[in-house]
Symmetry: C2
Subunit: 545 residues, 2 copies
């Protein structure tokens, strides 16, 4: 029998359009042309001007032959050109490759070559690395556009042309097209692999469109919110927030560096309502003198991700008027794809209990289909008992196309019809996920699993501790034992024995670290602690002993 609803009711130009976040900037410029889009130092741009600049960029790129399937890389801090590239590059059909500005020349050269970048936008701050990386590209050197910024530190001027001169070649009325297929790639982001070559995560227009909207719905973002770019835009395209800001016609306040003094100036001057970042960003903000926050009385909404936020950070933010929402994700799912959605009945609980509940990774974001904690062998859900560990999996429209030119890794990542995160977690009875560890971060001591995060949580409760990380240390008797690395708050003091005694109050004896090492912790550009560096330190020390 034929289905009457499938006859003569096909897609056509009137009723089907590719989902793309580029539609958001077209609407922002059309409906709110005069609203502020860009704030950077003394610079202001409204949405009409910003849209014109993006079209100029697209037009000038197209005139250089850039089009569908091509890659345009950017090595930029959070400056307006970085924002504009998120629209101008995909308007040509090309793919935006945001490079992690903390990487070395070898890694950057690998990415430029692997991604086959034809053009790269760069900033003087990274010229030292870029000179070397470009030299390594040999005859495949991309066309280099220098984004000039007088606040950039000294360095080489690298480009074949300056960004402003390049834009001047473009047509502000350039008639760009939506991608022919919403499955077409929009961005390429290399994961910062700690071993081997980085993998190139390819995302698509459909997912970017949906995740940008999911951000608005999940965070209840009002129209015209003012967003401070404490989150590096090279990190999962700033969690899709360039496109989210276009959808709500909000104002973006850019900054080159995460510096607490400057941040509070910007919050005060521009009445920042929203920001995102890793726990380290919030640690910095709450561990500053109260005088910096003077005159700031409005509530700031903060999304926190990148590592499970220590309870102390959640508590500290409540104290200084930052309303935190904890989100979780990975580059492969466009940034956050899970949110620790708050429940009304949590409000009556103690700050400690709330910090515990809010510190979980939570539930799937509104437009992500599912998050699950499965036994990776059987792909069956673990019991929702808050105890049984399994691996976190995602499924839905906010999941990458796959890894560029890496069918093996792609197949592995999607085996069984779910995206494998590699994060180990438990599922609570209320359906909230809580990370216990990265697979490689679990410490196995005398046959017992120790969650490094649980030990870190205990360390973070000590009043002198600013940041802590725990890794496995080889041990002749137990196989592995926990080793704690601790960064103290400015002017705070503590001895190793004091720290250990504190841990003994909170943890089972076998989970208490066997050693405490004091000092600044090595961090990635996104504020994640580089445990592999600490593991290296542990190994070399062990070898000496």
């Amino acid at each position: 029998m034929t289905n009457q609803y499938n006859t003569g009711l096909d897609k056509n130009a009137a009723n089907f359009v590719a989902l793309s976040p580029l539609s958001y900037i077209e609407r922002a410029a059309r409906v709110y042309p005069d609203r502020t889009a860009v704030i950077y130092g003394e610079r202001r741009q409204n949405w009409a001007q910003t849209y014109e600049r993006c079209r100029r960029l697209a037009s000038a790129l197209a005139a250089r032959g850039i089009g569908p399937g091509d890659t345009v890389a950017v090595m930029l801090p959070n400056v307006p050109a970085m924002f504009e590239a998120h629209f101008g590059v995909p308007m040509t059909g090309a793919v935006l490759n945001t490079l992690n500005t903390r990487l070395d020349a070898e890694a950057i050269a690998f990415m430029l070559q692997h991604g086959e970048a034809k053009v790269v936008l760069t900033d003087r701050e990274f010229s030292g690395v870029m000179v070397k990386a470009l030299a390594m590209c040999g005859t495949h050197r991309p066309y280099v556009i220098e984004v000039e910024d007088e606040t950039a530190p000294a360095g080489y001027d690298l480009g074949e042309i300056s960004y402003e001169d390049f834009l001047a070649q473009g047509d502000p009325g350039y008639s760009w097209s939506l991608p022919p297929d919403e499955w077409d790639a929009i961005a390429l982001n290399y994961t910062s692999g700690t071993t081997g070559n980085p993998k190139g995560v390819v995302t698509h227009h459909r997912g970017a469109y949906l995740n940008a909207a999911s951000n608005v719905i999940s965070w209840q973002l009002p129209h015209h919110a003012t967003y401070l770019w404490t989150l590096p835009m090279f990190h999962c395209n700033g969690w899709c927030f360039p496109w989210t800001m276009a959808l709500i016609a909000g104002a973006s306040v850019f900054l080159r560096k995460v510096d607490p003094t400057h941040i509070f100036e910007l919050v005060r001057e521009h009445h920042i309502t929203h920001l995102s970042g890793a726990p380290i960003v919030y640690s910095l903000l709450i561990n500053t003198p109260d005088s910096l926050r003077e005159g700031i009385t409005h509530k700031i909404h903060g999304q926190i991700a990148g590592a499970a936020p220590p309870a102390a950070v959640i508590e500290g933010c409540e104290r200084v008027g930052i309303e935190l929402i904890h989100v979780y994700g990975l580059t492969e799912v466009y940034g956050p794809a899970a949110v620790c959605a708050k429940q009304a009945h949590w409000e009556g609980l103690s700050i400690e209990e709330r910090a515990q509940l809010n510190g979980r990774q939570g539930v799937s974001a509104p437009m992500q289909q599912a998050i699950a904690v499965l036994d990776p062998e059987t792909m069956e859900p673990v019991p929702a008992d808050g105890e049984t560990m399994g691996e976190i999996f995602f499924r839905g429209n906010v999941v990458m196309k796959g890894y560029l030119k890496n069918p093996g890794a792609t197949e592995e990542a999607f085996a069984g019809g779910w995206f494998h995160t590699g994060d180990l977690a438990v599922m609570y009875p209320d359906g909230y996920v809580k990370i216990r560890d990265r697979s490689k971060d679990v410490i196995i001591s005398g046959g017992e699993n120790i969650s490094s995060i649980e030990v870190e949580d205990a360390l973070h409760r000590h009043p002198a501790v600013m940041l802590a990380a725990v890794v496995a240390m080889p041990d002749a008797r137990w196989g592995e034992v926990p080793c704690a690395f601790v960064e103290l708050k400015p002017d705070a003091q503590a001895t190793g024995e004091e720290i250990l005694e504190f841990c003994r109050q909170l943890l089972a004896r076998f989970k208490v670290p066997k050693r405490v090492v004091f000092g600044a912790l090595p961090k990635t550009s996104t504020g994640k602690i580089q445990k592999f560096v600490l593991r290296g330190q542990v190994k070399s020390t062990s070898a000496i002993e």
Copy 2:
């Protein structure tokens, strides 16, 4: 050259899921199981219970053989079963056909037969019409499920089974599936054609998913909003709000009839934050004694559509604390697909000026691609001068699949790659659309076009006028002249001459009505004034004269 981004990066079960608003209720029940979903009289249901009931409905329907391509009709007021049908029916893959409860037996019989409904849910209030309509279906009589409600007026018990008994047959854990294709039909809504047979508008899961989200973003709907169902759910599936409420895990307050006294009781008791409706709903609310509103101090957000809201209504709502947003659409675009988005600089203007600006149909909704005013001959945009009339067209993902079994009408509706609304409008320099008239409502007097809406706007400014409608009246000299039909406010008085003199102050002489007829205006179930009835009256009177 091959595109590296199209190789080995295909869709799979992990990264591609059909967009469907059914995903929203699954998430609401999972993340917010205990939050209230349904309030009706003394009845309360949380999201877990509501989801279970929807799954029971789907399961019981499936057990009767209902599946993809089948039609399930409902002839129901705004009661919980109507809401549940918006989830339970599509969970089976079937299509929900909401019948306009104000129609007569002939029209209902036509729809049941044309849509090939296999099952119909009905309410005692409409049993008189249904008995006749079902008789007309002969051997194609659908299976009838009676939704019992003790508050329903007296009538026949019609069903083969009661709704609750039917649900009891179903499995609350029923494992439903998303549609295999997001383009699959979700609903069938017949347009209330005033001549000829109604056309069956077929909408799809993709559009319903996107419009439900667009509602949240456009209206800045917070999580857990409390929505009062003043808008008939049979009207464009309640503008997709059943699905929107699932997306925000909000509470729906149902009511059988739009009665101002009852509405204010509900607003007070449940702290209603949001409601939608035609201008008549708001007219009723603002033209009630202040005593009814006693104790209500919170702001209510109201979406108004269905006809251009008279300035007096916009002003009246501002006065009583209803923050109106004007939206515009048609069944073919899932209800509102345009919104009169407010601009910050309007706030400083007089209430009159704001009413003028807010009375426009506005701009495309966030997830609708485009609205345009085109010359229907050339399909070129009219100048954005606020003067030149053209026809309104929509394009985007929130546009129907087409008309059921009506390829001719479908082709006509989509000619030129745009959906033709048949509404005549001008485009203002700020990109906002303002309806001047339905094509057939324009009055052509001595070769000049008179917008009936402009004349109605003038009439609505008269303090004694509650509602007004203007239609063409044949005239020997001018061809046509305007005839005004006026419904006065309760206890208000005015003479025809007073009304005309008032119009002369505001309108060019040739636009002033030549006759004023007092009395209650005929309205459709959705509050639209039935101008064809008035035209009939004009004709018969003219004939007598």
